[in-house]
């Protein structure tokens, strides 16, 4: 009988610790995003055709010129990309170099998108089969990467660049610049 009681109290204790674990996990913010394993790695090799007549195409060599830059993944079909467009322009006004890859897009659609929502991009490559998107470890659109002057990815921003993300990205660019 005594053994039984001890066993039962042990079960109570196990249940209690499980509830504590549940409570702890509930209080944790749930991170739904999948971080890219490419952060900290060299940017994958690519050489993309221009997505749009007024800007040159984009290759991985463009990130190895000693200057840190942002790499934005977007699509003219992507509604959140329209929402983040003003923040990208603000970043450009603050001195950031922004390259872009247009995913699964058509030239006339890209042109219409850029004329409607602004064009803060220095170079725009086209990735018609999302090949580079996958190589970068991006899980969706929009995403923005910080690449240092040697072509190493130092930071990944998933989702829309909101107002509050501008100083964060500028700081990441500064760190990437001073690090290399």
């Amino acid at each position: 009988m005594k053994q039984l009681r001890i066993t039962l109290w042990i079960i109570v204790a196990i249940a209690g610790s499980l509830f504590a674990l549940f409570a702890y996990q509930l209080s944790q913010p749930k991170d739904e995003f999948v971080r890219s394993a490419m952060v900290g790695e060299q940017i994958p090799e690519f050489d993309l055709e221009p997505a749009f007549a007024d800007r040159p195409g984009l290759s991985s060599a463009d990130f190895a010129n000693g200057e840190p830059a942002l790499l934005n993944l977007f699509g003219s079909w992507c509604i959140p990309c329209r929402v983040e467009a003003p923040q990208l322009e603000a970043l450009e006004r603050q001195g950031a170099t922004i390259h872009a890859i247009a995913l699964r897009d058509r030239e006339e659609d890209v042109a219409r998108f850029l004329s409607a929502y602004g064009n803060p991009f220095t170079r725009i490559g086209r990735d018609d089969i999302s090949e580079i998107q996958f190589a970068l470890g991006a899980s969706g659109v929009p995403e923005t990467f910080v690449v240092d002057g040697s072509g190493r990815i130092t930071y990944q921003h998933i989702g829309i660049v909101a107002e509050g993300d501008i100083p964060v990205l500028m700081e990441e660019l500064r760190k990437a610049g001073s690090g290399s």
Partner: protein
């Protein structure tokens, strides 16, 4: 107006639950208290009011009343009627209302029907049922009101997740919920037995049919859910060890163990503490499962709305009910007198092995499901899948199958091994024969191989209890046991055969291309667009023939729903007695060829036939018991000689 009636009914029902709790508690102490007479009517009226509330919600969905927030966010005027109705429980608020309705109906049923237990224990049971109910009323009314109105009425609703727009699935959640929540009766009986210190064989006999009824629904629900995942998700698998699937499996395992241990308690007055424990655990697993699914703390393919606040509420209920019940149990355990003793080689002994096995598998599944949650607390992300669940649960399951062959043949209390030589020799010969046949096939994995051999042995052994009986006079309960055990053999055979012999082809086909998979050959004839009420689809038309026989049409679709926007795969299934051809169509490649995925799955349907046989066995046992009880009660009433209690050979 109708939604307000529903809401009012719900509040009234909650008030009645409070009355029932109070009346039941008083009644459990003093039998003569007048207020105790209110407990049963309160439970019955509560069942009625919850039915009214649920009816009001169904009505709001049927007429697509978009002023109700739940309808606007989960329904759409262009959906077929059946999916409008199933939309009522295809969301958080509605499913919690369904939960509380089932709970109230079950409570009402025991209040009206059950009169075999001492009145004090019955009153305590109703009090416990009301106590559990109150928590869920509070949850529903305070944080998940299904009847909330919108100030601005939207012109159109959001629609229902297309994966859920399926006739089979429309009835899947209600079936599972009846099972989950039906187990609350066992929980309440167990608490009442502890509170009134009344753990007797009578208590087990009274509890059993209720557990059995809930268990039948759980069995059907899990079987249906597995078939749904099989043909709707388009991956060709029938069990994914997904947290949501595990959430339904764990109460089933506990309820199965409970049925068997209650049988020992009823027949032999042994395993008292253990039976109470399982009564508490079975419903606790229902609640833990609901918490895991509804709180979103585990990532699952079943994307339910994630809401941490609701998660906290359910967690509070878990702590209160499970924690409370366990503490009460620990405090009262020493007041349960030890039951009868028995030898290892006896019916009880075999049932104890069954119980240990089922509980161990329950532990395996629970640990595997919660392990990612545990490691995430230390920032390590893991996912636990079939490589863990399959072998580790098999370690316990396969020996259980062996015991299952012998157990039903054993006598209660004590038996001689020598008595069983003949039936076991027959079973042994069958298993050796299958073992020999299996050796002709290459590349059968160890688990499917063992599964095939044991399934064959069990299929024969499950009917061994009928040997030497006059079949016409064999009680339904014995038939039920044999059929349920045979169902396990059938399901294991289906799982093993599918795993061992399935063939898969992934092809990119042009129109007119010849396609082969296993014994099937055929041709992709055309691909055309088709439209449904709320979707359009590309449909591939294939003509397939089995071993050169008559050609049959297979028309898999890749569907695009527009409310909400989503792509789903509608597979085509060609069913033969010996298996299924499973065809799914994907997208068109850049070169114009269509991606087709074909599986030949030998005997895969036996998995679900097995599940249904298990449920059928349970139903036969239940009918046998209830008919016997009714007959005895009538004889008692008319003063005739009362029949003996049915022999305690089987469950229920």
């Amino acid at each position: 107006m109708i939604p307000e009636i529903g809401l009012a009914a719900l509040w009234l029902a909650a008030a009645l639950a409070l009355l029932q709790l109070f009346a039941g508690l008083v009644g459990s102490r003093t039998e003569t208290a007048e207020i105790a007479a209110l407990a049963r009517p309160a439970a019955a009226l509560q069942a009625f009011l919850c039915t009214v509330a649920f009816g009001a919600l169904l009505y709001a969905f049927a007429v697509t009343d978009l002023s109700v927030k739940l309808v606007a966010t989960n329904s759409h005027s262009m959906k077929p009627m059946i999916f409008k109705l199933s939309g009522a429980w295809g969301n958080h608020e509605g499913s919690m209302l369904l939960w509380i309705t089932v709970m109230a109906l079950a409570g009402g049923a025991i209040a009206l029907i059950e009169r075999r237990l001492p009145e004090k224990t019955m009153m305590a049971t109703l009090a416990a049922q009301a106590f559990v109910g109150l928590g869920f009323y509070a949850f529903l009314l305070l944080s998940s009101n299904p009847f909330e109105r919108l100030v601005e009425i939207p012109p159109e609703g959001n629609g229902l997740n297309p994966l859920l727009q399926d006739v089979g699935l429309a009835f899947h959640p209600p079936t599972l919920y009846i099972g989950y929540v039906g187990l609350s009766i066992a929980f309440s009986f167990a608490l009442a037995a502890l509170l009134t210190r009344n753990v007797t064989p009578d208590f087990a006999r009274v509890m059993r049919p209720w557990v059995l009824a809930a268990w039948i629904f759980l069995t059907v629900g899990i079987t249906a859910g597995s078939y749904w995942a099989y043909y709707e998700l388009g991956w060709g698998g029938w069990w994914f060890w997904d947290p949501v699937e595990n959430a339904s499996l764990m109460p089933w395992l506990a309820a199965t163990a409970l049925l068997h241990s209650a049988s020992v308690l009823a027949a032999r007055d042994a395993l008292r503490t253990w039976t109470i424990m399982l009564g508490v655990i079975a419903f606790s697993m229902s609640m833990v499962g609901t918490f895991l699914v509804r709180s979103g703390i585990l990532t699952s393919v079943h994307a339910f709305a994630v809401d941490p606040q609701r998660g906290s509420f359910i967690l509070a209920l878990l702590v209160l009910y499970i924690g409370g019940a366990l503490v009460l149990f620990a405090l009262r355990a020493n007041t349960i007198a030890e039951g009868e003793r028995f030898s290892a080689l006896s019916r009880e002994g075999a049932l104890v092995v069954n119980n240990i096995g089922l509980t161990a598998i329950l532990g395996v599944v629970l640990i595997g499901t919660l392990y990612p949650l545990f490691t995430e607390a230390f920032d390590v992300r893991v996912s636990v899948g079939p490589p863990y669940f399959n072998p580790v649960s098999a370690i316990f399951f396969l020996p259980m199958m062996l015991v299952l062959m012998v157990g039903p043949l054993l006598r209660w209390r004590n038996d001689r091994a020598g008595r069983l030589t003949k039936p076991l020799a027959i079973v042994g010969v069958v298993m050796v024969a299958v073992l020999a046949c299996s050796l002709f096939f290459d590349n059968i994995g160890l688990l499917p191989f063992l599964g095939l051999v044991l399934a064959a042995g069990l299929a024969v052994a499950s009917f061994a209890p009928l040997f030497g009986r006059a079949l016409g006079r064999t009680p339904l309960t014995i038939w039920g046991m044999c059929i349920a055990h045979f169902g396990i053999a059938v399901a294991i055979f289906g799982m093993s055969a599918d795993t061992a012999f399935q063939e898969e082809r992934l092809v990119a086909a042009n129109i007119g291309d010849v396609i082969e998979v296993g014994p099937w050959t055929g041709q992709l004839q055309t691909v055309n667009a088709v439209a449904g009420p709320n979707w359009t689809a590309m449909q591939a038309n294939l003509l397939m023939s089995y071993e050169g026989g008559a050609a049959q049409e297979a028309r898999p679709q890749s569907r695009n729903f527009w409310t909400p926007t989503m792509q789903t795969s509608e597979v085509a299934l060609l069913t033969r007695w010996n298996g299924q051809l499973y065809v799914a169509v994907g997208n068109q490649g850049d070169d114009g060829r269509w991606q087709l995925r074909l599986w030949w799955k030998p005997f895969v349907t036996f998995i679900w036939y097995g599940g249904l046989l298990i449920a059928l066995g349970g139903t036969l046992s239940l009918v046998g018991r209830v008919v016997g009880d009714v007959r005895r009660r009538r004889q008692q009433a008319s003063g005739e000689k009362v029949d003996e209690e049915l022999p305690e050979g089987a469950l229920a």
